[in-house]
């Protein structure tokens, strides 16, 4: 019994103390993972906030945007032109989704809209495989001037490796978040979007076009998906299995709240760092491979105290 208590409450902290360089590395890897989870969660949040839809297709949108970018470049289009063309494709996708799916489902129950996004997922998988093939593809990292290579820090003879691509991911994610925050707070469209998020009926009554707002929201989620696709793709290539990564964002949403942009960021970081620490220092007690489910444990523990999520809005419905 004493041995078990030491394994849980003593040994992990001794390891952290004895190998501080490795501990820093674990924190850094968790931080980078957290940022990437947050990027995916952000796409979910944007759409949920504006339309109340849980967009099951967010994962495949990450893959689709990444494949479009790589596919256009493979056709000989210069990298930055391909990037602009991909942004146009994501706008076309948002426009098509609004015209062909959402517009016809206005006032339908949420579950119908959710099911529609499952249908959309399968269409994007099938269409994507038809257009781009199913092989794993390399992200055009250097062509997009994303730094590669690594820098080493040797504190006290230890070793901490910082991949430049991870640093770039953190910077790009931060810029994206600041841009979105400015867009929501400082622009007319952004304020309209927030109004729609607050109350559809009231927004309509003051002349805000719901359809236009939906296109903008899905387009913004498409841009976030593209950034996530580029960063994830640069770390581990672009393949259809990347869509499963979206599942990693679910505990982030549970923790951060489905309607909060800061919640997605802070939730992503808590989950990213928390799951890495637990996997590395406490995982061996449970036979490793605990990272996947432990993220949900963190999220559910938080929900015990804040059922609406870390930054979610408290919903009070009066009868």
């Amino acid at each position: 019994m004493d041995g078990l208590i030491y394994s849980i409450l003593g040994d992990p902290f001794v390891q952290m103390w004895q190998m501080p360089d490795f501990f820093i590395q674990v924190i850094w890897e968790g931080f980078v993972s957290g940022i990437l989870y947050a990027l995916i969660a952000l796409g979910f949040v944007l759409i949920f906030k504006a339309s109340g839809i849980f967009n099951f297709a967010q994962g495949i949108m990450v893959v689709f945007s990444g494949l479009t970018l790589v596919g256009l470049h493979a056709l000989g289009v210069p990298a930055f032109v391909a990037l602009l063309m991909t942004i146009v494709v994501m706008y076309g996708l948002a426009f098509g989704i609004e015209r062909l799916v959402l517009r016809n489902l206005v006032n339908q129950p949420d579950i119908i809209l959710f099911m529609a996004t499952i249908g959309l997922t399968n269409i994007l998988i099938g269409g994507g495989q038809w257009i781009f093939g199913s092989e794993t593809k390399s992200m055009i990292t250097t062509e997009l001037l994303i730094p590669t290579g690594s820098s080493v820090w040797e504190p006290g003879g230890g070793l901490v490796i910082f991949q430049h691509i991870d640093i770039a991911a953190a910077v790009i994610a931060a810029l994206l978040i600041v841009s979105l925050a400015l867009f929501f707070s400082k622009t007319k469209v952004g304020r309209a979007l927030r109004a729609v998020a607050d109350d559809h009926q009231a927004s309509l009554s003051v002349g805000i076009s719901l359809n236009q707002i939906w296109v903008i929201t899905w387009f913004a989620a498409g841009i976030v998906a593209l950034v996530a696709g580029i960063m994830w793709g640069a770390r581990s290539d672009v393949s259809f299995s990347l869509q499963i990564i979206a599942l990693k964002a679910l505990p982030v949403l549970v923790l951060g709240g489905f309607t909060s942009v800061p919640g997605a960021i802070v939730g992503g970081l808590i989950i990213g760092v928390g799951e890495k620490l637990f996997e590395i220092y406490w995982g061996p007690l449970l036979g490793s491979g605990v990272e996947g489910w432990f993220a949900y444990v963190i999220a559910l523990v938080f929900l015990l105290f804040r059922p609406q999520g870390l930054f979610g809005e408290k919903i009070i419905e009066r009868v």
């Binding site: 890897e29 998988i125 390399s138 490796i161 770390r235 581990s236 299995s241």
Partner: protein
């Protein structure tokens, strides 16, 4: 009017569909192709399916089929999903299927109990249940040219001959599904006997492209060698993570499903030095492959991108088709029939001979090791060789490494006994 048109079209479609389900013509050999070109593993399933299809299509175009009978293939998409695989099996078994090549351990495990009932053999080439190598227990399942356990023993032999195993720590990173877990019993058995320590690093399906935790653990455990049982996008990510954590890639060995062009081309120069197992030839420098190019690929009858012909997985699919066609020939010879049944095919699989002379005869000189069908030994004990990624292509670095038969055989026998222990109705066979 519109409704009538729809109803009419549907009725016609159903009627046509019904006519398509009839058993194939008398001079045809029906081979169902359970493949996956979609899903998370589609990138690896596609070249394999292309190689399998194109070789048999080449035999049709060049020789008119096998032994005077044309081969009819029907591709059924499984998406590497066991349930879909079983649906494909059920949908095609009544059409005169000669043999099933499930291309998935999960699907294979589902089909093994079905094959004796339907009398259609299963050929699990390079995957599936290792214990199926025991022909007396598994009369309807075949594991040519070698099993996962034998492969693992060959890899361990290579490590042993490159600095020894005793006192070393071996890391095993694997896709945490039936396929990835398959060699664990062998590792756990031989680790104490051979004096090495084992460290396990499972990778869940949704973490295939997010392996930083596993590789942090690798850095913490500091294994001397790493062995990988991966598939699909997991492979490229693992090699990239290994390079990132500065693990020496010439001490990182992937199994034969973790060492294809599809895995390492996206990694490129960063994967230089990584080692992988293989049992089939690489490249197009074989007369049979030239014929495939001439009769199928250049003729526009292949789905393959011509640049992928000769790649690891294309050639492995092709080799699978070679085993099938050679077993058909053997069955035709034994029975004297042109059109054979699943039962005849089983006999063929137990009696074909694919030695170097025969490989040269069919245009694949030196393509692989000798394999001989046998009643008792459904594995063939073919040795795997190792290849190394040079930054842009694979290079063969060893001759075939024979498995540790003395270690593997007792384990296979015990596993076969364990498999049938809770199945009182299970029927084996007695071999002479």
């Amino acid at each position: 009017m519109f409704k009538k048109l729809i109803t009419g079209a549907l009725s016609a479609a159903i009627a046509l569909g019904a006519s398509f389900t009839v058993v194939h013509a008398e001079d045809e050999l029906f081979i169902p192709m359970l493949s996956y070109r979609t899903g998370p593993f589609g990138g690896n399933g596609t070249p394999f399916a292309n190689g399998f299809h194109d070789y048999l299509a080449m035999l049709n175009a060049r020789d008119g089929g096998v032994g005077g009978a044309k081969i009819v293939m029907e591709e059924c998409e499984t998406a590497y999903n066991a349930q879909k695989g079983v649906e494909c099996y059920e949908a095609t078994k009544g059409k005169g299927a000669l043999v099933y090549n499930p291309l998935s351990t999960g699907i294979t495990l589902q089909l093994i109990p079905k094959s004796p009932v339907d009398k259609i053999p299963v050929l699990q080439m390079g995957y599936g249940l290792s214990a199926a190598a025991m022909g007396e227990t598994f009369p309807w399942t075949f594991a040519y040219p070698t099993s996962y356990w034998s492969q693992m023993s060959s890899i361990l032999k290579y490590i042993d001959s490159n600095g020894g195993l005793k006192g070393k720590k071996i890391g095993f990173i694997y896709l945490d599904v039936g396929y990835g877990r398959e060699p664990i019993p062998l590792l756990e058995k031989v680790a104490p006997e051979m004096g090495f320590e084992l460290a396990m690093f499972p990778v869940a399906g949704k973490e295939m492209q997010a392996q930083s935790a596993q590789w942090l653990n690798v850095r913490k455990e500091r294994p001397d060698w790493m062995i990988m049982w991966g598939w699909g996008a997991m492979n490229a990510t693992a090699v990239k993570e290994a390079a990132k954590t500065r693990f020496p890639l010439d001490r990182f060995i992937g199994n034969w499903w973790s060492a294809a062009h599809a895995d390492l081309v996206p990694v490129g120069e960063a994967g230089k030095g990584y080692i992988g197992a293989n049992f089939s030839g690489i490249g197009t420098d074989f007369p049979a492959l030239q014929d495939v190019m001439k009769y199928v690929v250049d003729a526009g009858n292949s789905q393959a991108d011509p640049s992928t012909v000769g790649h690891v997985l294309y050639n492995r699919g092709l080799y699978n088709a070679v085993l099938v066609s050679e077993a058909i020939r053997a069955a035709q010879k034994i029975t004297g029939k042109t059109v054979i049944t699943g039962e005849d095919m089983r006999l063929g699989l137990e009696n074909f001979v694919l030695d170097q002379a025969r490989l040269a005869e069919i245009g694949l000189p030196g393509f692989t090791g000798d394999v001989k069908g046998d009643c008792k030994d459904h594995e063939g004990a073919g040795g795997v060789f190792l290849q190394q990624w040079n930054g842009s292509d694979w290079e063969k670095i060893t001759d075939p490494i024979p498995p540790m038969t003395d270690v593997v055989q007792p384990l296979l026998a015990a596993a076969a006994e364990a498999y049938k222990a809770d199945k009182p109705e299970w029927k084996g066979q007695v071999c002479k």
